[in-house]
Structure formats: C-alpha cells, structure tokens
Amino acid sequence: MCADPENLPFSNQKLEGFENRIAEVVAKDLGASVSYIWWGQRRGFIRNTMNATLKEGRCDVMIGAPEGYDLVRTTKPYYRSTYVFVYRKDKGLQITSLDDPILKTIRIGVHLLGDDYSNPPPVHELSKRGIVGNVKGFDTFYSAQNPPSTIIDAVAGGKIDVAIVWGPAAGYFVLHQPVPMAVVPVPSGKGDLPFAFDISMGVKRGNDALSAEVEMALVRKHAEIMQILKDAGVPLLEKRVAK
C-alpha cells in the first residue's frame, strides 16, 4: 500500500487511520498481507511510491484516490464524500450555501494545500465571490500530529466561525470535539467547481488485472468498508456512478 505516514484520519504509521483499516479488509479478502511504502501525500507522492525508481521502493495500491485522478489507474469508486461547512451548533449559524451573505463577515478557515495554483475548490469559489480578507489558511503539512485537526480545533476554540473542509478530513475530528458541531455539505452552484468527489482505489496505470481484483474485493466487502467510514465520521453521499 502507498500511504502517508502522518495524516490522520486517513493513515498513519501506527495504522490508526480509516484507510489503514480499509486496506486490511481488502487485503484479507484477497488473501494477501499488507505492507506499506510511506510517503507524504503531496507533489511527488505517486512518482516516489507506485512509480519509484527502485523496485523494492514501489507499492501496488493507493487506498484513496479521487476517481479520474490520472496519475494512477482508478478502480470503480467505493465511496463519495464532499467538502463541508463545519461550525459550532451553539453560535446560531445556519450556513448551507457559499452564497450566504454572512460569509462576507464571519471568520472562515480553509485548508491550504501548499502547492502552486492549487487551493481547494472552496478557496477559488470564495475569491470568485469577493470573499478574501476574512479567510484564514491552515496548513496541511507535516506537523506535531494530525495536520488536518488544527482547523477543527480552531472552530471549537472560537478562533474561526466556520471551516470549509474536505468531509473525511473533518468528520473524524468533529467526533472527538467536546463541543457539538454542525457538518453541512457544500453544494455546487451553477458554474461552480465541484465539491463532491467519488473516491476509488488506485493502482499503477496499465495494471488492469490488479484493478479488477481490487474492485471485486471492494464490492464483496462493501458493508464492512461503509461501517469503517461511518465510524470515522466520514460524511457519505450517494455514489453518483455505480456502473
């Protein structure tokens, strides 16, 4: 498996992430055992893992790859999630759309993916709507622990009013906050970028045989995988495509 060594709730080296659990389930179904090639999920992830120079440095399967991610061969998707608004339930907020005028005045947190020209869709859509000055960026880089959690802590602690975050990165940390929080999907308006994505497993381009094998395991273990995702607080949408 190709995975990030330090990126809960997805994966970590202690195997605590939901992707680690899903990897175990799929491997068991295929009668295989899991071993990892660890690499930070940022630029160069695929080239240094699945496509590594040395054979012993290569891995076979990326656990969560958005469908259509063209650096790998993606399987049919096994879940669908979305970017979400996260805010404290006790603040009297009712945000369900990026066009809500309140977004021009309250403090908004978003993840910075830290790469040229590549902020997540909410950042682009906020700038398009002229919402700039009240937006704060949070790193997704290596950090002491659990990089994606900082933004949720900031909502809980009142440093920001709302976070707009990729659902799976948010859900788990919302579950572990003492303050009750709302997790509301971000809808795409007309002409907006998409906010919901189908997630597949990824294998090396051209390896259709392995892709087919993994797809079969994902179908057989569907219920078990859904339970792991629910336990991890992943906001799940109906799959758009289930061909």
């Binding site: 080239r47 991610y69 063209d70 830290g114 590549s118 700038s127």
Partner: protein, 587 residues
C-alpha cells in the same frame, strides 16, 4: 597578490582570515575585476567566482585558438543520481565537490594523479525531507572561508567543516522541513558571517535570510521578506497584504547572493508570494519578487526593488545579481544586472536601487515593458492568470526566461553571457488532483517551447545598450550556468550533456564534449598544482526541467513536475541520471 590595488587590500583587511591564509579567497571588488590573470584566478573559491558573481576567470592558457584540442583529464562519480546544480570549489590544491541530497561533500587531492579522495563527509538527514523539496533534491554548492567549508543541507542544517580534515566544527538548524522549509541554495561567506537562505515558497513558507557567525555558527541576524519593518529591515510590506497573510507570504531566498565590499551591501532576490492563488491575496505582496540590498553586519536593507508586484505567473525573482561597472546612457554606472524569471533584463544603480534600464531578453508577452519611473511592469490584461479562466501561451513560462543557472560577464568583451529558456505556458482549469488526502480541482500549468521550437538559447547581452548581441539556439532549455575566461572562450553545459565552448566575441562554436549525463551545473576553471589550466563541470540531469528523468516520470502526464513535463518529456531520449564530475585540460 602583488597586483592587487589599494582598494582590494582594504577589502582584504576586513576579512581577518583571508590575509593570513595564502590559499584563502581573495576578494575581488566589483569593477576591479581585472581582465588579466592574478594568483586568485588559479583558484575558484566561490560558487560564482567572486562577490560580484561575474563567473569570469582571467586564465587564458585555454583560449579560442586551442580549445578545440581540449581533452578529458580525469573524471569522478559522485555516487548520487539526482540533479546536480552548482559546481566544485578549488582552494589551494584541494577540490571540494558537493552532491544533491544526501548532500555528500568530497575533498579531492589535486596534487596526486587522478585526484583521489582526501576526505568524504556524509550528513545524516531524515528521508522525510525529500518529498518536501519542490523541484528535485538539488543543492547549489559549497562556500569557503576561514579554513572552513560551509554547506547548507536539504533539511535546513548549515554545517561548517574543517577544510583540511572534513571534521564537523559546528552545525545549526535554520528551519523545519515539517513546515515546508528546506535549503537548496549555496551559502556565501561575507567577513565573519555566513549567509544562508530558505526554499519552500510553494508551501507558504515566509522567506528569510540568515547570517551566522563563521566561528561558532551562532545566529547574528535573520531578516524576513514579508512583515513588519523590524523583521524585514525595511518598511512597506504589511500594508500590501490582506490581514496577516504576510505570515505565509512566500518570498523565499533560494537563489544566489552577491556582495559589494566598497558599498558594504549584500544583494539577493526573493521568490514568489505564497501560497494562495493570486485572487486570494490582493495587493502588491511586498517584498516578494524583490531585489534587496542589505548591510551584511546588521541585515537592515538600504533599498528594495520589486520586479513583479502581485505575481500571477510564479516568476520567482531569485536569480543572481551581477555587479559590474559599465557605461549606461553615456554615464559610467555602478550597475547591478539581473536577468529575471519574468523575462526582463534589469540594470539598476546598485548604490541606490534606481532603475536604469529594463528590456526583455526572451519572448515576453505578459507585459509590454517596464515603466522606468515606477519600476512597475506594464501588464497585458489578456495574459493575467485567474482560477476562473484558461490562459494560453503566456511567455515566459513559470520556469522563467532564465532560471537559477547563473550568467557570466567578461570585462574583456563587456558582454554578459546568459543561458536562457525559450518557454511559454498554458494555464488551465480544472483537473482533479490529490494532496494531503484531499481531492481538489486546481488550475494546471503546462510549459511548452516558445516561438521557433527551440527550448533554450545561449545569448550574449550588451549591458550598455541592454540588447542581445548574438545567440546560439539549443534544443532543450539552458539549465546550466556560464563561465567566461580570459582566453576569450565561454563555456556552458546543455541538458543533453554537452559541455560547449564558444567564441566570446561571436558565439561561434569552438569545441564540445558529451558528458555522461545532462548538465544543469555550472562550469568553473582553475590552475592545478602542475601549473596547467583545467575546466570542470558537474553533470547529472534533474532539477525542475529535468525532473522527468531524475524521478522517472513519463511524458504521458504533461502537467507533472509542475508543468515541466509538457516541455521536457523527451529529456530521457538524450540523457540518463548520474552525477559525474568531468575535468578537462589541453593535451
């Protein structure tokens, strides 16, 4: 040493170590770089030869008449595969060779046949730092001073090694890769301080420059590129950002550093603002994309000149500053020449920062010119990028009209030799990408060859008229630096692996040799203990342009390597990985 002027002696007196050590670096003040060879020209003690960064050596044993007989004298494998930028140093009778990550240092004994290894230094670094490096795990070389070799390592360690033994004398941490900071730039020793920068503009790192004590490593000052005056050493930054976004404002300092001893000013450029898309960071975003002139003792800036306000193209302004004394518009001027990524050749008065001239040295269409009064580019609205539209054929590409490969200046010909890129880019939405566990749709950048189809051109530039004099077209980009010599021969390497010699006056090809791998390093020259002149260059394809070969990315994804693969998917047809030093001499 006999030929040194009073000015030079005054400069040396500022350097307590240099005067005492007859193999130490001798400072050549800008403008005094004599066209004839001195004892100092037997050595090569700084990455860009001298503080003025002219990369000119007055050595002339190898000249335009005999260079055609140049032969390999010896070669040396570095044992490392990734991109080899920078070049070796020669101090006395020892050559110092560096490598990309893991940043090995070799000291080679030039007094013995075949230059055997005198010592080898291998630092221990966490491999987790590798994925943080933006554009290959390059390193641009070593610095020398006070009998010590100074090295910046990818994981932000600066180390001082005993030049004789390789023993570690001190090391300090300049940053943390866990927040996106790395170091790829070579340090520079000025008086009793060693100057180091930081990389990581893609990750929102707030750029800084650091001075450490040569003897102890203790930090003397650190100045940021963005933020309040007390932290920048110059006013005017904070008000050009929304809120506190200057805290992740970019402006990293991963290029080269120059120094004018007479003015006592240190010069360098800062990189792109980060890490938001441009729409999310309105304002000029100072002092990203800026030339700084700082006092090396205090770090305070005397002047700052921003080249590309509110960058939308990733035109990092970090290229080297060449300090030359030339006549511009009939007046003798103390000039700072800078060939920027944005495609303009800037000529500034280096005492004041006054802009004297700015003209395109490659195909430029993002701006129609530079206003000489305000220094601001006159932008072409059709070529402004935005996350909501596709923009085709922006020239130059994000890889720049020129990248990190340093130019050379010959006082004999009064020409600047510039390795350039002929690259344009398409900036397009939307494609699914994936990072830190999150799918997202981002704009993508695809570089491609500019008009004519050649991806590079090695040009000679007249700083007096700010115009091109001649050019030699290259199939791939010119990603290696230039070397000018008193023999009226100019050397440069190509990504295919050729080391080429051309006539300094005309550009006529005189000689070439195909080294084992593509060249993105900088050739240098020295006189060996046997009294012969040698020319040396590191080959080893990689860097941003060569990332496809260095990391074995195929050409099937033109957006990989931050758009580099669109332009360079075929590099593997010409060159394979492998770091090798090749040293040449006359038979």
């Amino acid at each position: 040493m006999k030929r040194l002027s009073t000015l030079l002696l005054a400069t040396i007196a500022l350097l307590p170590f240099a005067a005492a050590c007859d193999t130490g670096p001798v400072v050549q003040a800008p403008g005094t770089s004599s066209a004839s060879a001195s004892a100092e020209d037997k050595q090569w003690t700084m990455q860009n030869k001298n503080y003025a960064s002219t990369r000119y050596s007055a050595l002339g044993e190898i000249n335009a008449g005999n260079v055609k007989t140049l032969k390999v004298a010896w070669s040396f494998s570095t044992g490392v595969l990734r991109g080899h930028e920078g070049g070796p140093l020669v101090v006395g009778s020892t050559m110092y060779v560096h490598t990309p990550f893991p940043n090995i240092v070799y000291a080679l004994d030039l007094t013995k046949e075949g230059a055997p290894v005198k010592w080898k230094y291998v630092p221990k670094q966490d491999p987790k730092v590798i994925p943080v490096a933006c554009c290959d795990t390059v390193n641009r070389g070593l610095a020398y001073g006070d009998g010590r070799i100074f090295q910046n390592q990818l994981d932000n360690t600066t180390v001082a090694l005993d030049a004789e033994t390789g023993k570690e004398l001190w090391k300090v941490k300049q940053g943390d890769y866990k927040v996106g900071q790395t170091i790829t730039a070579a340090p520079l020793v000025i008086k009793d301080k060693v100057i180091s920068g930081v990389s990581g503009g893609e990750f929102g790192v707030r750029g800084y420059l650091t001075a450490n004590d040569v003897k102890t490593g203790k930090q003397v000052w650190r100045m940021y590129s963005t933020g309040p005056e007390e932290e920048v050493g110059f006013p005017g930054s904070v008000e050009t950002w929304k809120g506190d976004e200057w805290k992740r404002g970019g402006g990293t300092t991963w290029g080269w550093y120059s120094y004018d001893a007479e003015l006592d000013l240190l010069y360098y450029g800062t990189g792109n603002p980060g890490s938001w898309n441009p729409d999310q960071r309105p304002g000029d975003n100072k002092w990203s994309m800026t030339i700084f002139a700082r006092n090396p003792d205090t770090g305070k800036a005397k002047w700052a000149f921003q080249k590309t306000p509110h960058d939308r193209w990733d035109y990092d302004g970090i290229n080297e500053m060449v300090l030359i004394d030339v006549t511009i518009k009939g007046q003798p001027r103390r000039v700072l020449a800078n060939f920027d990524r944005n495609g303009f050749a800037y000529m500034l008065d280096r005492a004041t920062g006054e802009l004297l001239a700015a003209d395109p040295f490659v195909v430029v269409n993002w701006a129609t010119g530079v206003d000489l009064k305000t220094g601001r580019p006159i932008e072409n609205p059709e070529k402004q990028t935005s996350s909501t539209k596709n923009t085709k054929d922006i020239c130059p590409s994000a890889m720049g009209g020129k990248n990190q490969q340093p130019v050379a200046y010959s006082p004999k010909t009064n020409l600047i030799y510039v390795p350039t890129n002929n690259l344009c880019m398409d900036y397009e939405g939307v494609q699914v990408k994936y990072q830190a566990g999150q799918p997202y749709v981002g704009a993508i950048v695809v570089s491609h060859a500019g008009p004519g189809g050649n991806r590079g051109e090695f040009i000679a530039w007249d700083p007096t008229t700010n115009k091109k004099v001649w050019g030699v077209k290259e199939g791939l980009a010119n990603w290696g630096g230039a070397l000018a010599t008193g023999g009226d021969v100019v050397f440069y390497g190509t990504m295919e692996g050729w080391l080429k010699a051309v006539d300094a006056k005309t550009g006529a090809p005189l000689w070439k040799f195909k080294t084992p791998s593509g060249i993105i390093g900088n050739p240098m020259t020295y006189v060996g203990p046997d009294g012969k002149q040698y020319v040396a260059v590191l080959s080893g394809i990689g860097g941003w342009s060569g990332i496809g070969v260095a990391a074995e990315i195929g050409a099937e994804d033109p957006t990989a390597g931050l758009g580099a693969l669109g332009a360079f998917g075929d590099v593997a047809n010409f060159s394979n990985q492998g770091g090798v030093l090749t040293v040449f001499s006359l038979p």
